[in-house]
């Protein structure tokens, strides 16, 4: 009972006992989250291997696509050879990116599975206002199927469970408001809001009586969602730090210029970490296939997915490489922004692990026997960086996900087909 005050508990229970996930917070007094932040970025369509792969060992001269990493190369590891159980690319490749699952054709339950960021957030998010933050520069792929795979799979990397993708914030100002403006609506007094949420929870609990067993998880889901808001309203989490004075409020709407847009999203993630609003975040820089973002500023023409299957056409190679290099530069900027924030005698980057990866390895050939992966940050100090780590073929990418979670202090030892932990 030390972790949560009595009133919080009584409110949460509404007088009834539910086997809901958040209750774990009370039992696990032994779990002490380390001050490590985890971020997961995604870019589409794989890479051009010869422009991506550096020399083995210490990172020295960077290959073309990775040149934007130059200012932070001693803070990054390049991982090659990590494999993923989902062989088929693009659409299932996106959904499986962080869920580490083998996605099979056939619809219904989707079978994606809880993604690594969400699993981490279940542990790290208990004491922050937001258990996790999901951002995206791109919308969805809409309705329909492709090759028997639902388009939805190509649009989300963060999954709550095997069938529920987590919607993202796409508008920077909305994300900013949600994170920093306070959870309470201005027209309601605190007492009114509290009373309302209490009633809303009672209603959800009452639903238990009228639903079948297989629907109970929907109730849990709904209840957790209410709790998640309530947690912020009640200020059960004392860890929120004030916004730094120089923090800028983003413009409204979605900026047309991708560079401005991605920079705003990076700032939001940095601020969210810096002010301890959350310890886990994900950001999608693209969807399976194209995404409608305008890369004209790179001199790129045409659809980035079609270009990625370049068939050795030099122009398409040039375009594809330029777009991937741009995505790496976004990643590099993020690391630099984190590095610019001091936390005691360390930087925020020292206290983070930032992964970026794609649905494929060689986009041209649809090859996905391994995936293109970079991991930046020191994870609190324990991770040595600045290397190209070549993994024996067959080593699961999921081992890296387990390694990241462990480094952040999550009691996780197994994820999907993992055979151990690596970082």
């Amino acid at each position: 009972m030390k972790n949560l005050n009595r009133r919080t508990v009584l409110r949460g229970l509404g007088g009834l006992t539910l086997g809901l996930p958040w209750l774990e917070a009370m039992g696990q007094s032994s779990f002490s989250p380390k001050n490590v932040r985890l971020a997961y970025l995604f870019f589409p369509n794989g890479v051009i291997p010869e422009h991506w792969t550096p020399g083995r060992g210490k990172l020295d001269k960077l290959p073309k696509t990775l040149t934007p990493l130059e200012p932070v190369k001693n803070m990054v590891n390049v991982h090659t050879g990590l494999t993923h159980p989902t062989k088929y690319s693009h659409v299932p490749g996106v959904a499986s990116f962080l869920s580490g699952a083998q996605i099979k054709k056939g619809v219904g339950e989707l079978g994606v599975g809880k993604s690594a960021d969400i699993l981490a957030s279940e542990h790290l998010g208990k004491y922050t206002s937001f258990s996790s933050l999901e951002l995206s520069l791109v919308g969805t792929l809409g309705s329909g199927l492709e090759h028997g795979y639902i388009h939805t799979m190509g649009a989300y990397i963060s999954w709550l469970d095997k069938r529920t993708p987590l919607p993202r914030e796409r508008v920077p100002l909305n994300a900013n408001h949600r994170l920093f403006k306070g959870a309470r609506k201005s027209v309601r007094t605190p007492e009114e809001t509290d009373s309302l949420l209490d009633y809303v929870k009672e209603d959800v609990i009452a639903m238990k009586r009228s639903l079948g067993k297989e629907d109970l998880y929907r109730i849990d889901q709904y209840f957790s969602s209410i709790r998640s808001l309530e947690k912020r309203i009640l200020k059960a989490t004392k860890g929120d730090m004030p916004l730094p004075r120089d923090a800028r409020k983003p413009q409204s709407g979605i900026p047309k210029d991708v560079r401005v847009y991605s920079d705003l999203m990076l700032d939001i993630m940095v601020l969210a970490f810096q002010t301890n609003r959350t310890k886990v975040a994900s950001l999608m820089l693209g969807l399976a296939w194209g995404n409608g973002l305008d890369f004209g500023f790179l001199g790129v023409q045409g659809d980035i997915h079609i270009n990625s299957h370049h068939n050795n056409d030099p122009t398409k190679i040039k375009y594809t490489e330029a777009v991937t290099r741009y995505h790496v530069s976004v990643y590099s900027r993020f690391l630099q922004k984190l590095q610019a924030v001091k936390e005691g005698d360390k930087t925020l980057l020292d206290n983070s692990l930032v992964l970026i990866g794609s649905d494929l390895w060689d986009g041209n050939r649809h090859s996905s026997d391994q995936r293109a992966i970079l991991v930046g940050g020191k994870g609190g100090g324990s991770v040595s960086t600045g290397n190209h780590i070549v993994h024996a073929q067959g080593k699961p990418l999921n081992n890296l996900y387990v390694g990241m979670m462990k480094t952040a202090g999550c009691p996780v030892s197994k994820f999907g087909n993992s055979t151990g932990a690596l970082i």
């Binding site: 088929y88 659409v91 054709k105 619809v107 219904g108 339950e109 258990s131 919308g139 969805t140 809409g142 309705s143 329909g144 199927l145 492709e146 090759h147 028997g148 795979y149 639902i150 939805t152 649009a155 069938r163 529920t164 987590l166 919607p167 993202r168 914030e169 949600r178 609506k185 309601r188 007492e191 009114e192 009373s195 009633y199 809303v200 209603d203 959800v204 639903m207 079948g212 297989e214 629907d215 929907r218 109730i219 889901q221 709904y222 969602s225 998640s228 808001l229 194209g290 409608g292 023409q301 045409g302 659809d303 079609i306 068939n311 050795n312 056409d313 050939r365 649809h366 090859s367 026997d369």
Partner: protein
């Protein structure tokens, strides 16, 4: 009986299944095994009887591949024609048996939340306001057969809950509450009133109502002296009841005031110490020598004393106040009305209003302790019940209403009635029974209630709540009667609300919902692709589908029709002259248009930024019309030899032809490409072109069978020849959309029946709908 038959069926074919499995082992599993998964297919899964059934869909796929000769691939195949025949014979009969047997399984009936567009239409149906709140929501995912309404995917995340709460908050600002009239919604939002404001309003309202009972010039100062004279006259003349009416007319005094005045001024009335002093002169007026002037003076003095007491009260110390207060109250009482009097004095409506204000005030002040608690509850309960019924789309349980009413009273006493009403609205609109489509569960394969049937029907055909007629039939348990059900479905299809089928079902199935936000076309090359043009493309496809639905026409017209619907912008786009500026039906003279394959919507969403894509178009046809998707491109495709691609002389067709030389690519591209090539006369935006890059168009597609499909009309003929695939795929899509879930093996029975009904009924759209609606799956829940 059916279950027994099914068991027998499984047993008999498991005997015949072993040669089939041997055949798979011999010819197929080398590539199609879990660690290889060529073509995304695993053929080691046929382990037991049930596995055949569960993989019904795959069986059909194998049948098609083996029968057409595309599998096993020529270069690996040692499959003799006898072996081939044994496989197709076995599969043919198995597929037939499994597909024509109902197992009476409902399938999963998970609760699911409303989609964004259902949310908006439901809010509109409940409030009467078109608030379009879902604009602020995160986009929905799609599941099952690719529809947004798939129950597996429709959950609620913390972000979405916040969005629902914010939306409910907005709805509440549009809501008004009156304890008599109940809830109403208005376009203009309003802030709730605080408890203090509400109490002040009640006070004012009560006063306003009472004021009507008094003469306009009423004041105690003017009326009290008159009353005293009147009472005196009554006393003087021997207190005869029959005199009363004359007296109150003469002095123009309300009879109730007079009655109470008589009572008060009689000597037996208990008066306070000070007023006894004030009233003594009045008592001393001698009756035998009545002096009217004296009487007037005495009355005026008494009144002045009363008014002075009123003024003095604040200055008088607490302990000495009481005698004055008694005096003041006694006089006030003369001039106020009892409840009984009020009933006879004012009309019922006003008296109710007054009572309501009194009750509400007391409940605000005393909450559950109020003596009027139960009458307040009686007043608000019908409003609460009716709001819940609308929002939940079925009557709430009595227990729910009682609980909600009790909470309403509590919040009323805490925050005032206005805030309580708004909180109730918010609570109702974030209730799972509003956010979700909810059916009460108790057991396996249970028949749904009539209310649930009404809801399933209306969300299927209208994407919104059931209308009055459906609800009324449901309340009488009539809706599930087969003849009434059929009649209602007919009515619903004719109703204008069935345009939802075009807007949502067809737009998602035929993918034209993508066109409005399609941003893949190069803006530099095709500046003419404006938002307005995109909207028109969407409308052409939607209106054509709607026309088929409303007029119950043949679903083959989706593929081929001699008409379409165009406005002036699209006419110009297509190069068709004449007609109105708005959308109207156009009869087509040539074979260049007609049917979805000639719609700019389809032709545009399957183009790449700078050029058309026969691959994407062909793939679209396989995916969405024929329902025979090819697997995704395999990992590690060999790239084409560099020199071949780089030499710019190769046309796209030649490039793709090269592509098909690769054994890895051929299997699928020989199915995709020929279909796409037939549409080469249509450019990136679906306009007709005679040349591309100065070269004449070649719109022939060569099939594996060496037959050639020529142009759009050839393509339409080809699809018509394969209409079983088309009808089956469409039925499958409609079934999935209607049930809000993916298709399971036991559903193929219904889908096959849908195809059968279509064929027997001139392919009328409704025949397919009747089959779905009457299916075991549609009428039961788990």
């Amino acid at each position: 009986m059916k279950a027994f038959f099914f068991l027998v069926l499984l047993c008999t074919f498991s005997l015949q299944a072993s040669p089939f499995k041997q055949m798979l082992d011999k010819h197929c599993v080398e590539c199609h095994r879990p660690d290889e998964m060529k073509g995304d297919v695993d053929l080691t899964i046929f382990k037991d009887k049930q596995s055949f059934y569960v993989n019904y869909d795959l069986l059909i796929n194998i049948y098609d591949e083996v029968e057409s000769g595309s599998m096993p691939p020529e270069e690996d195949s040692k499959m003799t024609s006898t072996e081939r025949k044994s496989v197709t014979d076995f599969l043919g009969s198995t597929i037939h048996k499994l597909g024509s047997t109902s197992t009476n399984q409902t399938g999963p009936t998970k609760i699911r939340r409303l989609t964004s567009y259902e949310y908006d239409s439901t809010v509109k149906a409940v409030t009467g306001l078109d608030l379009k709140l879902s604009k602020g929501f995160a986009a929905d995912g799609a599941g099952g057969e690719g529809f947004y309404n798939d129950s597996a995917i429709l959950g609620v995340s913390p972000l979405q809950f916040e969005q629902y709460l914010a939306a409910a908050e907005v709805i509440s600002t549009h809501s008004n509450f009156d304890t008599i009239k109940g809830f109403s919604f208005s376009q203009k939002p309003s802030d709730p009133k605080t408890k203090k404001e509400t109490l002040a309003n009640i006070e004012e309202g009560s006063n306003r109502l009472l004021k009507e009972l008094y003469p306009k010039d009423f004041s105690i100062k003017a009326y009290l002296p008159r009353l005293m004279l009147a009472v005196n006259e009554f006393f003087r003349n021997g207190r005869k009841k029959e005199l009363l009416s004359g007296i109150y007319k003469k002095y123009n005094i309300n009879k109730y005031f007079l009655a109470r005045g008589i009572n008060y001024f009689s000597s037996s009335y208990k008066k306070g110490i000070i007023e006894r002093d004030f009233i003594r002169p009045w008592f001393e007026l001698k009756t035998e020598k009545y002096d009217e002037n004296k009487a007037k003076e005495v009355s005026r003095e008494f009144t002045e004393n009363y008014l002075a007491s009123l003024e003095k009260i604040p200055e008088i110390k607490e302990i000495k106040r009481q005698p004055y207060i008694t005096f003041i109250n006694n006089i006030k009482e003369i001039f106020s009305f009892t409840d009984k009097e009020l009933i006879t004095l004012i009309d019922k409506d006003k008296i109710n209003k007054f009572q309501n204000l009194k009750v509400t005030r007391d409940v605000i002040e005393n909450g559950m302790r109020s003596k009027y608690r139960s009458s307040f509850a009686r007043q608000i309960m019908p409003h609460i019940r009716s709001m819940m019924t609308k929002a939940y789309r079925k009557p709430p349980t009595e227990q729910e209403v009682v609980k909600m009413t009790k909470d309403f009273i509590n919040t009323t006493s805490r925050f005032g009635v206005s805030v309580a009403a708004k909180l109730f609205i918010i609570r109702t609109f974030v209730h799972m029974k509003f956010i979700y489509r909810h059916e009460k569960k108790y057991g396996k394969n249970v028949k749904i209630t009539d209310y649930e049937l009404a809801s399933r029907l209306s969300y299927f055909l209208w994407s919104t709540v059931p209308d009055k007629e459906l609800v009324e039939l449901a309340s009488k348990k009539q809706l599930s009667k087969p003849d009434i059900l059929k009649q209602q479905v007919k009515r619903m299809i004719k109703d204008k609300k069935s345009s939802a089928l075009a807007k949502h079902f067809a737009a998602q199935w035929l993918q034209f919902d993508k066109i409005k936000t399609f941003d893949h076309i190069s803006k530099e090359e095709y500046p003419e692709f404006t938002k307005d043009l995109a909207k028109d493309m969407w409308r052409e496809s939607a209106i054509c589908f709607e026309y088929i639905v409303k007029n119950d026409r043949s679903v083959l017209e989706i593929i081929d029709a001699d008409y379409t619907f165009l406005n002036s912008r699209l006419r110009r786009h297509y190069g068709i002259g004449g007609g109105h500026s708005g959308f109207s039906k156009v009869m087509l003279r040539d074979k260049k248009r007609g049917g979805i394959l000639g719609h700019a919507s389809f032709l545009t969403v399957t183009s790449t930024p700078l050029r058309t894509s026969p691959v994407l178009r062909g793939n679209w046809i396989l995916n969405n019309l024929l329902g025979t998707p090819v697997p995704p491109a395999p990992p590690n495709v060999e790239a084409l030899p560099e020199e071949e691609v780089v030499s710019k002389a190769l046309t796209l067709k030649e490039q793709l032809k090269n592509h098909r030389k690769s054994t890895q690519c051929r299997g699928c591209h020989q199915k995709i490409d020929p279909l796409g090539f037939t549409l080469e006369h249509y450019d990136v935006l679906g306009r007709w072109r005679d040349k591309y890059k100065k070269a004449p168009i070649d719109d022939n597609g060569e099939l594996l069978s060496a037959k050639t499909i020529e142009g759009l009309s050839g393509l339409k003929k080809y699809i018509n020849k394969n209409k079983d695939s088309y009808l089956k795929n469409m039925s499958r899509k409609l079934f999935s959309y209607a049930l809000g879930r993916s298709v399971e093996y036991y559903d193929f029975y219904v889908i096959n029946n849908m195809v059968k009904s279509l064929k027997e009924d001139d392919y009328r759209f409704s025949s397919m709908v009747f089959e779905v609606v009457n299916s075991y799956q549609f009428l039961h829940k788990n």
